[in-house]
Structures are given as structure tokens and as C-alpha cells.
Symmetry: C2
Subunit: 297 residues, 2 copies
Amino acid sequence: MRHLETFRLIEEVARAGSIRKAAEDINITSSALNRRIQRFEEEFGSQIFERLPHGVRLNTAGELLVQHYRAQRSELARVQSQVADLSGARRGHVSIACSQALIPYFLPEQISAYRAEHPGVTFSVRVRDRAAAERDLSQFESDLALVFEPVHMVDFEVIASAPQPVCAMLATDHPLARKDGPVRLHDCLAYPHVLPTREYGVRHLLDSATRGRSVSLGPVVESSSFEFMRHYVMHEQAVGFQIPIGLKRDLSSNIAVREVSRRDLPAGTLFLGYMKGRTLPVASARFAMQLASAISV
Amino acid sequence: MRHLETFRLIEEVARAGSIRKAAEDINITSSALNRRIQRFEEEFGSQIFERLPHGVRLNTAGELLVQHYRAQRSELARVQSQVADLSGARRGHVSIACSQALIPYFLPEQISAYRAEHPGVTFSVRVRDRAAAERDLSQFESDLALVFEPVHMVDFEVIASAPQPVCAMLATDHPLARKDGPVRLHDCLAYPHVLPTREYGVRHLLDSATRGRSVSLGPVVESSSFEFMRHYVMHEQAVGFQIPIGLKRDLSSNIAVREVSRRDLPAGTLFLGYMKGRTLPVASARFAMQLASAISV
DNA sequence: CCTGCTGCTGCATCAAATGCAGCAGATATC
DNA sequence: GATATCTGCTGCATTTGATGCAGCAGCAGG
């Protein structure tokens, strides 16, 4: 939208930390950019950047302003989506921030199912750890968040939630894979095991459950990638951990899955939500409803 | 703000019902205005006016857009007020829609008291019947509403409320003015009486209380002005009705006031509120706090 | 048919935004 | 301490985009 152009420039300057640098990125001269910002500050009635010897930085007023404009921009997108919808167009864009577990199976299925009915709707999917997903929402970079064990839950309006017990991932020829049903945590940890890094919910649950107990964690590999861990347990006979929604349901795969006994490890929760106070664009709202019924099953 | 200029034009066109007429009012040529609207519709991606043989009218998309922009404008005002506040400026503007009863004594006192401490803050006061006050809020024409017996209360976030029993206004030499304390409704109605028109809360309460009862209303004068009624009861020996907050507290006035017995007429309620979902500018929020404590006393 | 309104458009004009070059001031490097 | 290099900022010429003027077609009411 034309009238939000100045704001785009402001954001760019804030990001670059310098007017000249930002001007280069946008391919205009620094003088033009400089004057636009000066003009804006004048009519806004207050400086929004503090001038430092080596560039500029948003001051408090600027931060407030940027927050306002982000909200405004997403609001406008909502209105446009609503308008498109009332002309029967069923167009729109859904942006979603999610935990890694949703990436391999769940979201691809859900999105393709949705797009089969609404081909005009496009998606962007961002992988975020549980803290970053919430930040994404509050900075209007994503409409929806689908997060396992979110951290603060401020500004997070919950649409749906589902319990997700932690499961052990095993190579099919692993000793623990011979039985079915729940497996005890100390049995898992007796074997070499791979763990996600601390920013992830699964690790958080494991840390909490073992703190001050007789069992303790001693990962042979720590990784920020669940995909890596899923593949790793097939090589060394190690134990990995993941939540069910991140695991293939069919039995033909070469990974065995056993739920960790809830006596040892309480189930975590997967949350679907959006930023408190927002009204979602129609496409996002509809997709959220689909997700909600999918995870509640 | 510069970038909301196009919207101002759109609003103007919607109001005038014709591009040419609006262009005259704004003192630009119709061609310029026409092209601005066309450009806007193009980048917005949808028509916002339907073209009629004798002018234009907002279509559904346009209505949505106007609503959005109004919200956006008031949001921007809030941000500016917040920025002014953090530089210690204590400036701002408070717009308030209120029932007639607040006009003569209550609001002048409250506003002057507030302005004594914050001289930079300006006010606009709109007199609205109880339905119009709520419409004002939802169209972002007022920040606050102070209404006796509001109608729907949708989109109305209550800050504070206070019971207001209906009182009889009498000339000091009126027979009913000889006693103190509550007066029975049938005694009032036995005398010539003046009533507010149906859109007002006091009348609404009286209508409800007499419906299907032995007593019935037979006003000698119906008026939409409480000021008129207050003065009228001093001429003909008639009975008028008003709520306490609209009446002078001191005894030196030439109007006697007696509360109507609550057995006959339940007390109404005065509500202070703002539009649901909004965040008020600092000045409005502070003034609202002052009003809240004033009416709760 | 005519009059008076409407929205719309081609062309000339004007204003505002931009680009270019250069300024002063501050930091870092030698 | 001099130099080099960065910063934001400003005067002047240029270009781009918005505006004004005149005139078009379409529709309603007389």
C-alpha cells in the first residue's frame, strides 16, 4: 500500500542502523531517505530516531511507532482479505510459525488439504523455537503459531491445544524396540541418547523430569534439528525423543516409536494460537479452525 | 498525518455522495479527486464506491475500509499521545459523548478540575442520546461515553457505573415540595408533568414502570431538552424528572428535588465506558479514571 | 430534444520528491 | 596528531508524479 511506504523505509533504516546503508539497500540516495525521515518526524511531532555518531537507532517513540505500524499493516491485510472474501474470491495468505515437530508430516498434509479446497490461498511457514514463535506473533510476522510447550503465553490467545507425550525414537533393531507400549525413562537413558538443545520443549520436559532425580541426562549428541536426530538413531543404536505429531504414523518406516511412561515424564502440550487482541484474516481464521479440529482428534 | 490524506478524501466523497461535490468542498478539481480514488481502488484491489448515475456510494468493501481507517486514525492519535506523554508533555485531546444530564454541572466541574492539573489537554464534549453515544464510540468519534441507561452495550467496555435514582424536579412552591424524602410516583403524576422524549433513559424507566400499572403518563409537555424542562417547572407548577447528577446539589436554587420512591421506579444506571478492544490515549485514560472515582463516590 | 447532472480522460502545468555534490562532525587507524 | 572513513545533513538542478483545464459520453427529468 502506497501510504505505508514511509514506514517501510523507517523499518529498513531501523534494521540497517544507518540511513546511508538503508538507502543503498533500497536503491535510493541517502539524501532522499534522510529527508523523508526528517519530514516524517516533523509532522509526527517527535524524533523517532536517536542520532549516534555511527548511525541511527530507534528511540522509545520510534519503537512505539513501529509497533503501531506493524499492527496497522496486518489490520489492512485483514481488511483486504475480508474484501476479497466477500467477492467470493477465497484468496489470501496465511503465515504460520511452528515448532519443528510440525514440519515433516503434519503441516504439509494440513496445508495441501486446505489448498485443495482453496487454491487461491498461499502460505508461509516459519520454523521457530518456542520462544521465537511467540515473538513472531507479537511483531505481526506470523498470523498463527503452533508451538509445543510455549514459554510465556503473554499476548498468546489459545485456539486449541492437545497433549503430546514424549516418545522415544529407536532404530527398529534396537533392544528397546522389541517390546510395545510405554517405555521407562531410565531404560532409555541407559542407552546412548541424543537430545534437542535447551530451547526446545522436549528437552525442557526432560530437564525438568530428571532434575533432582536418580536418572540424569548424558547425551552423546545434542542437536537443534529433530530431523538430524531422527536420522541419527538409525546409525548408532541411540535413543532419540520426539512428540507423536512429529512422527510418521505408519509402521512401514524404519523407526520404532515407544511412548515414554507418563510416570517418568509428564506429557507436554501443543498449542495453536494467535496474538491476543488481533482479528485474523479470513483465510488464517479458517485454516486455524481446520488445524484446531485436526489436533483435537 | 500525510499518509491518511487519501482516506480523508474518501470519507469526504462518501459524505458528499458525489465526487464533484466533494471536490468543491475540499477545493480541488474533480479530476484530481477522481484519479486519486481510482488509483486507490487499483492498489487496494477492489472498488470501494459503487457508481450510480447520480453520484457514488460506498459499497461493502468501502464500508469495511472506512471502518478500518477510522480505527487506524484513532490508534495513531493514541500513539502520538503516548509519545507526547513520555516526553513529559502531558498534552492530548479527550473527546467524550455524554447524556444531557452531565452537561450542566458534572462535566464542567470535572473538566476544569482536570485541566487545572493538565493545561495542555483539550476536550470536546458531544451531547448524545443513549443510542447515539454508543454509535459515536464505535465510529471512533468519541473516546469516552458517559451515558445514562445505554441501550445495547455491545462494543461498550464499562469502566465504572453508578446507580442514579430518578428524581422529581419541582418549583419550590409546589405542593409536593413541602415535604422531604422520597415521593410516590402516583403523587407526581397526579400533577401536570413534563417528560423527556422516548430516546432518553429517564423516559424509558418511566415507561417501563407504568406499563400495565394503574398509574399512567400524561405529559403536558414532552421535550428533548432537560434544560427546558428544568426551567419549565418553575413557570407552570408542573413536575419534571431528572437524575441527581444533572441537578445542582446546593439548596439555594429555586428548584426542589425529591427522589421518586424506588418502590415505584427502580434506579437507573449511569455508565462510563469506551469502545471494546481499543486502547485509550493517555489523556483519555487518565480523565476516565478521574470520572470513575467521581461517579463512584 | 434539451438541460443538468454524473464519472471519466488527454494534455499542459505545477509542485514535490529525488539525485548529485559537498559540508561539518565524530571515530578509528596509523 | 594527521589521515581516512564513516556518519547525518543541506543547496541546487532534475525528474517524477499529482493537479488543473477542457471536453467526452452516459443517464435522469423535463
